[in-house]
């Protein structure tokens, strides 16, 4: 029997956790002698104040949707994929190789191949730790952490070597050809006559992210494979008894997770940079953990959480102008608090809420 109604589990508990996390972050802001409410206002204004700000917010949110979904799929199979950072980086190589290989005539032809290239590279980078977990019993958390660093080294090697552009001193590839330019939100909204900022990097990848969210939902709750993944996640022993192969589920779930993390490269490399640079992931792989935790590993929750984190990322930059005493790294504090309260301290919130509901029903505690 569930101790608490579903709405409390899905809405009430995350809201309490979020409130606690924001309160704790507010106390930090208070401690350095600034007004936390003013800071919140600056962040909201910075995230949503102008069309350009909204465009940046949506760009970051797109990244976080991909990495959040990646973490969630692994979570459903009872794995903690902390390697989104490396998987996304390697996917960037896949995307760049595809886009540099041909002189693409139009983005609509280039995009499916870039998705294939990025997804494949990300999936393969996740498949190795998955194989080692399934076959050699290596803890996937440790292996994926190691693979983040190995990925950084691979990126450094390639971008200073065979992929390096001869035209600059920087560790980056040549710019992609004009035919790979993805439509930005400005281009797309102009078609329907809505003016939107030209400079904001939000692009068609936003819709790819929403599509991925739908596909993840469909996979997990509407297909046989998704059922097997969730069954394995709930109880590996029972799943094995039901004839579900642990090796197969572990590797497939991680490959899906890696490919989803890799879609970040479509947004950031193909959509924004239009060339491969070394540091394009910018910690989004780790933020995905917070997004998945807050979104309760459900695609709808993840979309909402990704938007919130997108607002934080963009709004944080505006602090610099309006409240110069608060550095934008306050966003990291908020993210840390959210991971702490929604992830690690779940039981602290859940316990009292459960007791409250049991008491309200008149049952014994």
């Amino acid at each position: 029997m569930d101790k608490i109604p579903r709405w409390a589990d899905v809405v009430l508990i995350p809201l309490i956790s979020l409130t606690l996390a924001l309160t704790a972050s507010g106390l930090v802001v208070l401690a350095i002698g600034e007004n936390p409410f003013q800071a919140v206002w600056v962040i909201i204004k910075g995230a949503l104040g102008t069309a350009s700000n909204i465009g940046y917010t949506l760009y970051y949110a797109t990244n976080y949707m991909f990495t959040g979904l990646a973490v969630a799929v692994a979570f459903h199979a009872r794995m903690f994929n902390i390697g989104g950072e490396g998987q996304a980086a390697i996917s960037g190589v896949g995307v760049a190789v595809v886009l540099l290989a041909f002189d693409w005539p139009h983005w609509s032809i280039a995009l499916p191949f870039a998705i294939l290239g990025g997804g494949l590279f990300g999936a393969m980078w996740a498949a190795i730790p998955a194989y080692l977990q399934a076959k050699r019993d290596s803890h996937i958390v440790i292996t994926t952490i190691m693979f983040n660093y190995i990925a950084a080294a691979v990126m450094g090697f390639l971008l200073n070597g065979i992929l390096k552009s001869p035209e600059t001193q920087n560790a980056e590839t040549l710019p992609f050809s004009a035919g790979t330019h993805l439509p930005t939100l400005h281009d797309m909204l102009a078609v329907v006559g809505i003016p939107f900022s030209k400079h904001a990097p939000a692009n068609i990848s936003l819709f790819l992210a929403l599509l991925c969210a739908f596909l993840v939902w469909f996979l997990l709750w509407r297909t046989r494979l998704g059922y097997a993944i969730r069954a394995f996640g709930h109880s590996p022993g029972a799943a094995k008894y039901a004839g579900i192969s642990a090796v197969k589920i572990t590797i497939i779930a991680m490959m899906i997770s890696g490919a989803l993390a890799g879609m970040l490269a479509i947004n950031a490399v193909m959509g924004q940079q239009e060339r491969l640079i070394k540091e394009f992931v910018e910690g989004a792989g780790f933020v995905g953990i917070a997004v998945a935790l807050m979104g309760r590993n459900h695609p709808i929750g993840i979309i909402i959480a990704a938007l919130l984190f997108g607002m934080l990322a963009q709004g944080g930059f505006e602090l610099l102008w309006d409240m110069p005493n608060i550095s934008k790294e306050v966003v990291l504090v908020i993210q840390g608090m959210i991971i702490l309260f929604t992830g690690a301290l779940d039981y602290m919130v859940r316990g009292p809420v459960e007791r409250l509901f049991v008491r309200a029903r008149g049952g014994a505690v």
Partner: protein
């Protein structure tokens, strides 16, 4: 290249290896206590970072480096307390708690540092009295002049380090003795292997796990303080630069044993020294070992060891599992 020059390079490399392995060793021993008691700690990185900041900040403000070390330890222990409350008392996910601590450290150090010193998250450079200095061991000069090979080794590699270096290397035998020769150590290890049996024997699992997590806090505190007051002279943002994760790798490489931990940290320190001193290594004009390979080698080796291709590393059996007392 003549022999004298090669010897000089050899000495410089070894000296740098020792300097660079200290932080790794402190964080690695911290992880050793914690994981031996069944608490996975991927928050080592965050504890190093928060300690580095507070040790630099307090050293700068008071002009006393030892007060700075204490402040670093206190900050790191506060993080340990959070880790303990989440993963021992509230039985939350230890790994997620560690990730949260790393985020908090990255954010808090810059936010507080920026508001405190107005230098974009850095502390000012530490003046003379507020940081550690090299100490020369007895007879170093006499040894250098009179004993050919070993004398130079003694004077330039063993002698001439900062106090925390010697403290750290003494912690290895101490840790071995505590874990394998005392009742406390036996119980601590048992808590990480089979908590239920320890509980049956009337020993508090909770108490031992908290003790282990706090010891880890002290050690990471020392590690962070070393970074900011000995290896560098002041705090810079993200100055721990992934060393907490390399320490985690070293811990696995060492198969959760103190003496092996020393070896692993020296090896990883040597690799870091090599990548600093000799970026691209040319092997007999045949091919070049790129610097990125040397940098990635600790992680690659760890993956290989963890996968059991060369000597299997088996973690403490109850690691990562919250303990629920039977009723």
């Amino acid at each position: 290249m003549d022999i004298a020059q090669s010897f000089l390079q050899f000495i410089v490399t070894l000296d740098m290896t020792i300097r660079l392995s200290v932080v790794l060793l402190l964080a690695c021993l911290a992880g050793l206590y914690s994981e031996r008691a069944g608490i996975f700690d991927i928050g080592l990185e965050g504890k190093l970072l928060i300690s580095a900041f507070f040790s630099a900040a307090v050293s700068y403000e008071t002009g006393n480096v030892w007060l700075g070390v204490l402040a670093g330890i206190a900050a790191s222990m506060l993080f340990s307390l959070i880790h303990g409350i989440t993963s021992i008392t509230y039985r939350g996910n230890q790994l997620i708690a560690g990730v949260a601590l790393n985020f908090l450290a990255s954010g808090l150090t810059v936010v507080i540092g920026h508001a405190w010193f107005k230098k974009g998250g850095q502390t000012p450079a530490l003046p003379n009295g507020a940081r550690f200095h090299e100490i020369t061991l007895p007879f170093a000069e006499a040894m250098r002049e009179n004993v050919p090979f070993l004398g130079t080794l003694y004077a330039d590699v063993i002698s001439g380090h900062k106090p925390l270096v010697y403290i750290t290397f003494l912690l290895v035998p101490l840790t071995w003795w505590i874990l394998f020769r005392t009742r406390f150590g036996l119980r601590l290890r048992a808590v990480g292997e089979n908590p239920a049996s320890v509980d049956t024997a009337g020993v508090s699992v909770i108490k031992y796990r908290y003790a282990a997590v706090f010891i880890a806090g002290v050690l990471c505190g020392l590690g962070g303080a070393y970074l900011a007051t000995s290896q560098a002279a002041g705090f810079g943002r993200e100055m721990s630069a992934g060393r907490g994760y390399i320490a985690l790798a070293a811990l696995i490489f060492a198969k959760w044993r103190p003496w092996y931990a020393l070896m692993a940290c020296l090896l990883f320190g040597l690799l870091e020294a090599i990548s600093n001193l000799y970026p691209n290594i040319n092997v007999f004009d045949l091919f070049e070992i790129p610097v990125q390979f040397t940098q990635a080698l600790p992680y690659i080796l760890t993956v290989v060891i963890l996968a059991g291709f060369v000597g299997k590393a088996v973690p403490p059996r109850a690691g990562g599992e919250p303990y629920v007392k039977e009723r």
